[in-house]
Assembly symmetry: D2
Homo-oligomer: 342 residues x 4
């Protein structure tokens, strides 16, 4: 058996831990051969490969990023893409493919698996934790730890100067990182993409905090939106390259707070530091277990599935279901956190 | 409503986060009063209390330890203990009690609740993660992170000198910390209390590692035992005070490895650093949610219960069941890890 | 003897360690009384004080920020400011004043000491490390560690996506943080305020890096300037509040790199996280020693002086000299680093 | 020019940073060739080499340990050792040798350089910071940071249980790590090899601490000795292999404190974690600069010298002087710290 492995989408701490576990168990227990595809689906599309054996995965467990590289290339959007992917797999004599990625990467795997009979097993990866089929995805815990440490640091600077500090964390469509790091960091307001926020309410929380001589920290997901601010935000948040600007909603909010409360406010945008570096112990453990179970699914020829965490168990779910909808923060969970606002 | 709070047993990162959440929600949402009892069950036993209000819990979220102090005092073992506890609760006009602790502390709560009608809600706390009613206990993730960081550091020293490094981690009866930190740290052998180990097998793993010019790391739980080493170990592991010696099974194993393989071996005993300091983001989040749900149970007058984590939900389970048996590492989970040994 | 203490300017890890050392030694060895002034020179100006004794400094050693608060208030710029400061000191029966701060705060101390006979001892504080009279200031090592950790994290994300990552660190007038964190983090280009940079040169370094399949990291001080970019930068870097925008020179450079090389580039602005949180061991040690020597200077009635680090010794230098000019990065030091560029 | 490089003695964070800087500058600026010798002086003794070029040093800056391996092999003690070392150097066409190591490794370099005309440049390395010719050695700052973090963690556990915690840190002959981490961690007693300690005095400090409801932390260097405890200690501290036992003076002291004060005491021995893992930013910077200046010394043919830190400058000192005596903690520095005891 010869197994291909690829990693797609944004990088995420724990990718290398998955790759290592897949290869270690595949080689040692099942006697499989492996081949790595470079840069996600670009690898099979362009027949760009890298050798993958026990030696290649040595020492990579604690390393962030992915030794296979990553990209957002989508063969479904490329002319003749599917034919070229299949051609590569035949040429490379690949019997099964393990695709490690998020919604997009696994969506391709689901299509190739469902419609074209590709023998594919998926491993979920999203730092945003927004895949509905699994309790957690690896990378998320690391990101939350990094954001929480940053909030811890910002508390002292906020209090020394009696300033408002707005911390913008990742999360375009789901506010998991904001919710968890905001709770863990003792934020005085947490703003999510799931629920439009009211700037006056935020200002009220901010002011109630100053009344007891504490300086407020506001944690905001990059995808959070003010109740009526669409027009205002638009120009500010997209740059000439069409990227979301570094100076997004967090900076906008800090200025609004300054205007409305007269208090100094500063913004910190955590950005890419949240997704780099060595994975937390939880993420290494989860990624390793995902890898072990993914190669077991290959051995069981249980294709078209994705491994997932349910409680403390690793289970298998259909790829098609797994990527059907994103998992957002439930209103009841957000309501739980509100006791700490203000 | 006036609610008493106590923390018992070994200290654990996250205790303060529970106390803060209980008080914040209890005061702000339900208008309750609070009183803290000092040093676990010693507080109610000796009527030793400390004021507990919003101001008292400010800034304690990131702090390790417990502002209430802790002890292993057991009122069931003290003459007239139950009468004295009840007397204190009457004197202090306590309507309900939240007990935060492990098997022993919650065992007392279960007895007082079941046999004596005390209105009690439990919050599980054990750094060892060995309570069967909950997926995880807070403190565990912090301990695993600390142990993993230490293993990361030891890899470099092991490899520079081509030595065996034996790392002894916490876990008298259950090997969760050893299993998780061993997997996350890339250990070459993991030894648990749940399964007697064979020193020759360990030596074989160690030697296979040297053959590829890598230096092995062996992670061992303090409660792990060699297959036939009871007599040998006995004298070595208990000191004149009856404490388990610092130089326990880890040091013993390092010497055996030196004798049998001729390779240099060194031991590191992580000890109390595993249970101190600021909690990880996961533990702050879990402890905070436990606190919020514990005060909800009080409001619901749902006494005799313990809060617990099931998947990503906080549920309530009967105190009596919760403490009935310890949760050990399942052999299948241990078997999963074995692919990385040697 | 009654000694006043104040902390001025931007907050900085280690301020509390200085205060603690001053008070512990002052009370225990010399039997002095202390009084804290709130928010730098605003305290004496407005007679705003806070009690300061052994109990007040307990547990503050590892805490970032300052228990006395800080501000940039300058009594020399306030009408009648000097008279009001002197009045407060008489009213509070203060015999000597320890001022902990940077160029501005100590500049005031120098003036009050030189021209008005105030009995004043200074302790240097600048996270930027740009005071000429001392080898290092506390806070700097912490900031460099935080920036280095961030760069470590960004390496993995840069490499997984083959992107350029631009990291903007603190340093308006001196590039010490950029130089040290860039060297420690293995940056492929380091840009300082001391020397205008050539965007084409930066692009050449960036491209030489891609040629060997590595992704480049560019570390840039917030005060660095392109050779010919003044006009271009101006509008982009000041916001409507007159603050330097979050999206400053780093973001500008990332866009230029994208334009000129066609490679994707991203920016991370570390911002306030660099100055918050617990001080590094070096900063705690340095701040503590500064505190011990400052109170010794008071006892010796050696006023008008500032404590400073020279090698491993703490010495005293005249306040007037100490604040005369800022210490910038020597061209020879910068040249040393250039071997790692590209 | 062909330059050999070796690393000897105990491993130390920053070794790889030196090697990288030496090779990067040597190749890029001076066009030199390099060859690595394995495991310190064992390499030249046994002609055991490893290729060393730009590619070999890629990515090693943040990695602990040494890619060249290390040992305590001393060619002066080996029969015919000097002849064999010289033979290897001739055979490998080595024109100059950079030896990175502590007292022993550099002592060999000094002898070979002085008596046998070997063209040798030394780089000082000792985690203990006890080389007299340099203000600091790399590795020391990392060790102090790790020990300080551990002390921070132990404070919370000490206070929750009102126990004494004894922390044993590295330092056989000099107490620098104990002094710096003890000061930075807020220890209530610091015990060094330089000055015999009085157990009753330690107990008095411990008890004065409990009186104000704080739990004491005692930091002790592994080489510290009680005033009259030689006989007592002897049997306890050497094991059957002749190694210093894990359970050394720290554990002995904890027991004495228990006996004399009746308070519970626990010991933590930090051990090898202090010397492993990624170097601190300071150590990466210092090690990098040492490397750059060492290769400059080779280019200047300024042999028989060691690079050293003096203030913020890197200077060169004669190898012979550099290793003549160890640098111990000055009594005046220790006296400074005493204000925090008790």
């Amino acid at each position: 058996m010869r197994v291909g492995v690829l990693t797609g989408g944004g990088d995420c701490p724990g990718l290398n831990a998955v790759i290592r576990a897949v290869v270690r168990k595949g080689v040692q227990e099942y006697g499989y051969d492996f081949i790595g595809f470079r840069d996600g689906w670009r690898g099979p599309l362009e027949n760009d490969t890298v050798p993958l054996d026990i030696r290649a995965v040595r020492g990579i467990l604690p390393r962030g990023g992915t030794i296979l590289g990553s990209s957002r290339t989508n063969p479904l959007k490329s002319e003749d893409g599917i034919r070229r992917v299949k051609e590569t797999l035949v040429k490379q004599e690949v019997d099964a493919l393990i695709a490690i990625g998020g919604e997009d990467t696994l969506g391709v795997a689901a299509r190739l698996s469902g419609d074209y009979g590709l023998r594919c097993v998926g491993v979920p990866k999203t730092i945003d934790n927004d895949l509905s089929a699994t309790d957690y995805t690896f990378g998320f815990d690391t990101a939350v730890n990094i954001a929480t440490e940053a909030i811890d640091r910002l508390h002292t600077t906020a209090e020394s100067h009696m300033r408002v500090l707005v911390v913008e964390v990742m999360g375009r469509h789901a506010g998991w990182i904001a919710l968890h790091s905001g709770l863990a960091g003792g934020a005085n307001a947490i703003l999510l993409p799931e629920q439009r926020f009211d700037v006056d309410q935020v200002c009220a929380w901010v002011e109630s905090r100053f009344k007891i001589r504490y300086a407020p920290i506001v944690v905001i997901a990059e995808g959070a939106m003010p109740r009526d601010g669409d027009a205002v935000l638009k120009d500010d948040t997209l740059d000439s390259f069409g990227h979301v600007r570094l100076s997004g909603v967090g900076e906008w909010l800090a200025k609004e707070i300054e205007k409305r409360t007269g208090k100094e406010a500063r913004t910190t945008v955590l950005g890419h530091v949240q997704r780099g570096g060595t994975p937390s112990a939880f993420d290494r453990w989860l990624a390793t277990r995902f890898g072990l179970h993914a190669i077991d699914a290959v051995r069981d020829e249980d294709f078209g599935k994705m491994v997932a965490l349910r409680g403390t168990d690793i289970i298998r779910v259909p790829l098609a279901e797994a990527t059907a909808r994103i998992k957002t923060v439930d209103p009841s969970l957000y309501a739980e956190a509100e006791v700490f606002f203000g």
